[in-house]
Symmetry: C2
Subunit: 472 residues, 2 copies
């Protein structure tokens, strides 16, 4: 039975975004040297990364989620009693049973009627939580008129070795509602699920924070799932929205899960080659007709991770215009797992008014989410420019977030290495235990208002505290 | 933007259910003796449990999920290409990143466009996956006409000690669609989320399969969340469905998360007392007017876990008629965590035609889901008796499932203890490793068609195999 008080709105989507990242970072140029790479550029050019955020042992996925959720509530002046759904995505688990979501309940006071728990599938979880939040709005909004929040929280750390430089940390919170500035193009989302072992974190014998990674396989799985999802997205766009020969030219931004930005560069090349093969337009093709014509005539390569010079060339303008500028936070924070795709919304929004709007043209944002193991989706938002006030708020908040990148403190590779060693030790430390980085001499500052882990008691219960919200 | 090919149906719900449980069990009477309780009845009367299912080390939450999903596909002749959502709930994690859902993808062949990953919050996860699946149907069914599947899979094991007898194991799969025999009463679901540590499974230093349990607190949290949710459910029933003074008299069945059935007995007493206080009717009140009148006059006790003799008496007929008969699988399998609530739908459906239908009266089923940490919801289904053929299939499948309880093999408490020791050892065993219970002399049989773990390779990748589907 459905008890409806009204129609289902047709403009559900994202109407608020916030982002928290830790106050410490290490420079990739310094890491390259410290890791013994004589020629500079291994991480900066090879991976396309400039800095990497990291957390000491006083931050965990719960504290990050507490901080970003409180930020969202404050920045958008959300009445906690108006929230009816709260979904949390993470692959940085502190518990195999209890949800991070339950630890966020104190932020909502007397309102305990909040649906949603934790969702888990590698870096893809945030996308699933978004889809679930939208489904919840479709199912309940006409009855209850309440809002949804989705939180992505992760700390990416790797064992000492070649993958260590691809770490990062951060959290994103999204507010979902009708009348959203970023309207979800419902029904076009195209998914590819597959059973694989390219990156995972087995419990038991492998008792540490670090994943098991098959790097090459993961890159290949990321790109081939992208190709599958993008083709399906095009088919659905044609079937459900009557959009034929859709290509990246039809988008104002293309955002990607970004383990490192050089992989995203490859992803854009794969998509542009796909556009060309399908007879779609390519940005800047008038200046390189021969190259695009060549791509049009080529068959799809069997190994998508081998990027041809032609597809790199043909996709350069696309990359420069709709993807690269949104990646600043990814370059300076590193891989954040579940938030990695969503910080690009922050990047896009922070720059929005600097660009010119073409009259009568819809501004659309393409999103590619990937999680090892694997799950992947291509979906899209349409910018709802009528939502002036809400959009303005999102732009202001996004600018302030990007500005905070410069307020972080740099640490040396040695200090970073020590912090990782502290985290390793703390992970399996006998309880009761206290994070070593809590000591007053700690090198690891926290931004005002940050929640942090204060102790784990003898019953393994985690206690959290919050630093002063005022700047001192 | 919403691209709709039709209206949203108003009869989404459960149109298929299947259940897998392991082929071995231990008798609670034997366990009582073996655990040194001189007086019989500690587990059988004290907890209300008769048998307990258990898995050897060749079964894990993934293999259980593979088995039950294949069973559902077969029993309801579901075309794998018709499925668009697959959500998996578990708190028996084998990985902190990769989802169990991704390991089920091979069962769906070429259909890889399947949304949904894993959801996690103790025993509550299945309910969230159900809500998410329903939201997905509301959001996408008018466009795509595809079906949803929800899978609950868990193995409940406890360290040697007083909680060990409250283990169990099993998996449930639900098919969700419009035109469902069990229509979800959309919008009435009432939730209570709370940050607590009554039962949890910390990662790191506590590196084992067993939870940390605060038994008393958990019972108290279970009952107090029930009271909160039930009150809210009544308020929503009045506000959205015009049902005033709703009580358990209005339901054909009341199903509960069941750690052990004696706790469910208490839950029914708490609800009946609540019904009485609110002026609602009580089953059989004509035979005990004084008692019910006494309850009506009482204030709500501050500690709900102290059950008064009056509320026990007043709730006895309710318990006997709408709850106890559905608990057979819970009594004989033990706590199954996420599937524990949903096997009662099997119990209810297996008995459905033996009861008489009252003319013109809707048959409704109340559900109480609880997960430590904590999340709880009260919600309901309405039986759609017009769906004769689908309902018939659900009844037939349910009877066959209940019948399979008698096909299991009994093991002694000593054999059970050895199996737990094997699981403990296997959990942290160095890879590559092979389950010891795979040896040909193993005491632990598997039903035909059961998937099982065959090995963990040197890269921690789990391999699965399936036993012959024919009975030999």
């Amino acid at each position: 039975m459905v008890f409806s008080n009204g129609d289902v709105p047709d403009d559900f989507g994202v109407s608020g975004v916030s982002c928290y990242f830790p106050a410490s970072f290490v420079r990739q140029e310094a890491l390259e040297k410290a890791h013994g790479h004589k020629e500079p550029g291994k991480y900066t050019i090879g991976l396309g990364q400039t800095e990497m955020a990291f957390c000491s042992d006083k931050e965990d996925s719960v504290s990050l989620a507490l901080t970003v959720t409180q930020m969202l509530l404050d920045e958008y002046e959300i009445d906690p009693s108006s929230v009816g759904f709260l979904g949390v995505a993470s692959e940085t688990l502190v518990d195999k049973s209890k949800s991070i979501k339950s630890a966020l309940m104190p932020l909502f006071g007397d309102n305990t009627d909040i649906s949603g728990v934790d969702v888990k599938h590698a870096c893809y979880g945030g996308t699933q939580a978004l889809f679930d939040g939208l489904g919840w709005l479709h199912r309940t909004y006409p009855i209850q008129h309440r809002l949804a929040i989705v939180v992505c929280t992760d700390i990416a750390v790797y064992a000492d070795g070649p993958a260590r430089c691809t770490g990062g940390a951060g959290a994103v919170a999204l507010l979902l509602s009708p009348g959203a500035p970023l309207v979800f193009d419902n029904g076009l989302e195209s998914t590819h699920g597959h059973h694989g072992y390219d990156f995972f974190k087995p419990v038991g014998a492998h008792n540490c924070e670090y994943p098991i990674v098959a790097g090459k396989e993961s890159i290949s799985a990321y790109l081939s799932a992208l190709s599958t999802c993008y083709k399906l997205y095009k088919r659905k766009s044609k079937a459900y929205a009557g959009r034929d020969k859709l290509s990246l030219v039809d988008f104002d931004a293309a955002c990607f899960h970004s383990p490192f930005t050089k992989l995203v560069r490859k992803a854009v090349a794969v998509m542009v080659a796909e556009d060309a093969r399908e007879g779609g337009r390519v940005r800047g093709e008038e200046k390189m007709e021969g190259i695009v014509a060549g791509l049009r005539a080529q068959e799809e390569p069997s190994d998508l991770s081998v990027i041809s010079p032609e597809s790199l060339k043909a996709s350069e303008q696309t990359w420069q215009e709709i993807t690269s500028p949104n990646l600043e936070m990814n370059r300076r924070l590193g891989n954040m797992y579940t938030p990695s795709l969503y910080v690009q919304l922050v990047g896009y929004l922070s720059r929005l008014e600097e660009e010119k709007r073409e009259e009568g043209r819809e501004r659309r944002i393409l999103m590619y989410s990937y999680g090892s193991g694997s799950m992947a989706s291509v979906y899209s938002f349409t910018l709802n420019e009528g939502m002036t006030e809400r959009l303005r708020r999102m732009i202001d908040v996004s600018r302030s977030i990007v500005g905070r990148l410069d307020e972080r403190e740099e640490r040396t590779p040695e200090e970073y290495g020590e912090t990782m060693a502290q985290r390793e030790k703390f992970y399996t430390q006998r309880v009761p235990s206290t994070p070593s980085s809590l000591s007053s001499s700690s090198l690891y500052p926290l931004f005002p208002g940050t929640f942090h882990l204060s102790s784990i008691d003898d019953q393994y219960r985690r206690q959290y505290a919050r630093v002063d919200t005022r700047r001192v």
